[in-house]
Amino acid sequence: MNQSNKKLAIVDASRLIIEAMKKAGADAFIGYPITPSNLLYSYSTQLMPIMLPAPDEITTLQWMSGLSATGKFPITATSFPGFALMIESINMAYMMELPMAIILVSRLGPATGTATCGAQGDLAVINGLLSGGYSLLTFAPSNFEDCWTLAAKCVEAAVKLRTPIVFLTSKEEVMTYKTFDLNKLEEIKPVKRNFYNKDEKYFTYKPNENYSPDFLPVGNEKWQVRLNASTHNQEGILQNIAPEALENTLRLEKKIKANLDKYLFYQYLSDNNSDILYISYGISSQAALEARKIAKTKGKDIDLLILKTLLPISEKYYEIIKKYKRIYFIEENETQILQRLFFGSKASENIKSIGSIGKMISPEKILSESI
């Protein structure tokens, strides 16, 4: 290796994620330990100003919601069995518009599955998580740099859009140690929390120009705050199906979609002469990168789209995809979750998935199935 100007250390991504989120403004970790997210938990114990061990994952999300209501920025880390318990409460936090981040470390399912084996099977759950089909903003880091910068962006987006966000990673990403150049870590500035401070009456759910309401913590002594998980009006009063309340509910989707471009992260590698596109995310994107590199040594150009803002699916992704004759989704499952998200249950013949369960997808497998 060329060592000049490098600051090398052996690092794991769990460490990067927790420190980046803290630098961006996360100040509380609530959690229940579960493999393979345990490193994130133990690092938080050392680093986070508030660290609370919850007795279960439902309590975790409720405590986080309470902390968020007071102006803290809570995070947690879990894997599917714990995440499944959190789902109703994530709906609550979404409806109450409480900023927080949930780090979801995928492992092999269904159910308890294999705790110590990686997988990419949780995207299906996240996509259908919010009743009504609303979009839950979901980021997925593809490498160590993302585990730093994207983790910080996760905190920023959650604060600016007043919403819970899922940071989707996997066992192979957060439990692997690598020699890494720390100089690649960009400076992270804390996200500014601008709490409402005007003299006009505060309405908890009155949207500003980006559809996101100003935030004010409960317990403040200036204005009443009314948080509500039921269908409610701008004041936060339960309203059954009153038009104003339904409009408020619909705003939640508009808020995410209207601001998506600000938080749209992806990596598009193109030589402008390929008719094949690989689409991947998370841990599998590294295999796709290597497959592309190997193909190039054999004189074959293949383009690659790495999705980092995973949900909701951006129109920009379709604009890229439409240029290609053959498309391969590379994801560590055998049920084509990502492909089905893009193209439904029956995709055309030129769209295929390359998957795997129980082990990482190898570059060799990608190449053998695509060229």
Partner: protein, 428 residues
């Protein structure tokens, strides 16, 4: 007390609460307001957290902060607020029913165990009023509900005993008739966790199904004693922890100074038994490789129960940054025990003549086309076998300087865990 004649002051914006005529929820709402006014609290120093159930629609009448969450979760949600505010001057009050208390029993016990600064008012009318009068976990034996027309055959939870046993500073049970604002005031004044169970009757279902029902009698029959129970405990305080500023700054910065002879990425698996230092040995190897100017990846595999069975580590080393770190087919497999062999034999069976298996000499030779190097790795003891096998591997392959692994042990201050001198002697 006629609720509609109560004078409204700062806490409520109406004395016409949204409940059925005769419902005890009216009394709880009005007495709560009166208790808070007696405490002379600013409404914005109060956070009312309501659960799901008839009582939960009261938010609109309160001038306090209000939070309306999920069924059964209000105590946990309020606990989060208590953690966040961490201020005894702020009054966090939960309204919850007997149904919510049943769903969220764990949340109540947990908040009591931690003795969080908050108060819970259980509206116990012995049934689920909002959903049609079904029995709850707090319904006393013999009490008739829509789902137990001959009387509840089961024993109801005694929420006061449970909460007291969990460690709450203050627990009380009262009959929810008349002016009970003094009892509420006492509960709200407690430092730490207080719970007040207010027995009441649902006029829509409870009265109709239990026409001769008298709160005092049913409480007595059910063993639901009226009274106050206290624990002399300190309220929740955050533990004094020494937090660090940065995890990254704690990392040892590597200064590569040894040479290596690697031309392309090498994939190595090290497999042995749990408790025999496999992961530690792999981390030392990874560190040594980094000191030799190599990029490395290191990933452990082991069963869920970490102290038994196999322990394996996948190691990649390369002069270029490593993208894919999985190992389908290793260039080298290093096996130190039967557990390791059993775990890795599938990969070993696919290895070719370009690849090599280093295997402890006590083990049967596996089926493989790979080259075999047999050596007694366990002669240095089971605990040292994994590191010893890697040292032997470096000696034999010379992929990087042997000195690098010695330096790796020293720089990581592992000399008290690793008898380097003995291992070096055994190799030489």
């Amino acid at each position: 007390m006629n609720p509609e004649t109560i004078q409204i002051k700062s806490i409520l914006n109406t004395n016409k609460l949204p409940f059925c005529k005769g419902c005890g929820h009216n009394f709880i709402g009005l007495n709560t307001a009166r208790a808070l006014e007696k405490l002379n609290l600013n409404p914005l120093d109060i956070i009312l957290v309501t659960d799901i159930g008839c009582h939960g629609i009261i938010d609109v009448a309160f001038n306090t902060h209000t939070v309306h969450g999920l069924h059964g979760r209000s105590v946990a949600l309020a606990a989060g607020i208590s953690f966040g505010l961490n201020n005894p001057q702020k009054k966090i009050i939960v309204f919850i029913g007997d149904g919510g208390s049943t769903i969220g029993l764990q949340h109540i016990l947990e908040a009591a165990r931690l003795n969080l600064n908050m108060s819970v008012v259980v509206h116990d009318n012995f049934l689920y009023g909002m959903t049609g009068g079904q029995s709850s976990g707090l319904t006393p034996t013999g009490f008739k509900t829509v789902t137990s027309s001959k009387g509840n055959p089961f024993v109801g939870f005694d929420i006061c005993k449970l909460t007291h046993a969990a460690g709450a500073s203050y627990v009380s049970r009262i009959i929810g008739v008349g002016d009970f604002s003094e009892q509420l005031k006492e509960a709200f004044s407690v430092e730490g966790f207080s719970l007040l169970e207010v027995l009441e009757i649902c006029p829509s279902y409870g009265v109709k199904l239990n026409p001769k029902f008298k709160l005092q009698e049913i409480a007595k029959e059910a063993g639901r004693e009226i009274g106050v129970w206290k624990n002399q405990r300190n309220k929740f305080e955050y533990p004094e922890d020494n937090k660090i500023d940065s995890l990254i700054n704690k990392l040892k910065i590597l200064e590569p100074r040894f040479s290596n002879k690697i031309k392309s990425q090498l994939r190595i698996i090290l497999s042995g038994s749990a408790g025999e230092g496999v992961q530690l040995a792999a981390s030392i190897f990874s560190y040594a490789a980094s000191l030799s100017g190599l990029y490395t990846t290191q990933k452990g595999s082991y069963p869920v129960t970490v102290g038994v069975g196999f322990s394996s580590s996948e190691l990649n080393i390369s002069n270029e940054e490593i993208l894919f770190h999985g190992i389908e087919l290793p260039d080298y497999a290093i096996i130190t025990s039967i557990d390791g062999l059993n775990y890795s034999k599938n990969k070993i069976s696919k290895m070719t003549e370009n690849q090599t298996v280093f295997i402890d000499s006590s083990l049967d030779v596996p089926q493989t086309k790979a080259n075999l190097e047999r050596y007694d790795f366990r002669k240095v003891g089971a605990k040292n076998a994994a590191l010893f096998s890697l040292m032997y591997f470096i000696k034999k392959t010379n992929i990087f300087e042997f000195e690098a692994i010695i330096e790796a042990v020293k720089e990581q201050k592992l000399e008290d865990k690793v008898d380097l001198k003995k291992l070096i002697q055994e190799i030489e």
